[in-house]
Subunit: 105 residues, 2 copies
DNA sequence: TGGTTATTTGGTAAAATAGTAAAACAAGCA
DNA sequence: TGCTTGTTTTACTATTTTACCAAATAACCA
């Protein structure tokens, strides 16, 4: 195993933090502007404790930051370049769909 | 839960496929050119069955394609835009390192 | 202080994932 | 056909992740 493996582990941890449908939904929602946990909970539709945990995963990974104002905690996206990546992901999905059509028809 | 959730699940599946240090290493290796399982096994240093499984995960996600030539199977990266994303990930890591320094000093 | 709202934490059962050894398969050659 | 090499699949256990509920915490207001 290459000795630079720790570098890939650090990267994998961040990617892992993104690798959940709900967290992707949250990330995309946070692109427009910051949101409090309660707003994100309404939007996602899971239990608030579940949403809070997803947000802590994103925070630990360094993808979002939190800001407590009064009783509410606002989260905001720290790394907008993640959006470009989602475009790349769409390309994978699109390419695959096209191939499946080709192999059928 | 939003009814578009299947879309986020599809994305998450692809991201999940990337979220492993060895698979990131393989992806980066495949940027230069295609490689057979045996070459990747030497490079990564894991058991060939382990590497093969990682490759099948990447293949199922649509990130690589395989091409059997004789007894060997060559894999090649289908989505080079993934590399840009790795740049974004580096930014997350770098930002976080900077903050940790700031909070200490 | 007591009550209310917003969020996080802890515990737990269910689901998903990782890792690997062994078996299976496929291609080429004697 | 049978042997060898290269790769894939299967089967299994161990580990991790997830989602919910309930309890704990924190900030504010009366």
């Amino acid at each position: 195993m290459p000795s630079v493996m720790y570098k890939y582990e650090a990267r994998a941890n961040i990617i892992k933090a993104m690798a959940h449908p709900t967290r992707l939904l949250i990330i995309e929602k946070l692109v427009e502007r910051e949101h409090c946990v309660c707003e994100l909970t309404d939007f996602v539709g899971d239990d608030i404790s579940t949403v809070s945990k997803h947000l802590s995963v994103l925070k630990n990974a360094g993808i979002v930051t939190d800001d407590k104002r009064g009783t509410m905690v606002f989260y905001h996206l720290k790394v907008p370049c993640i959006l470009q990546f989602l475009g790349c992901i769409e390309k994978v999905i699109h390419d695959r769909a096209k191939e499946q059509l080709a192999s059928v028809g």
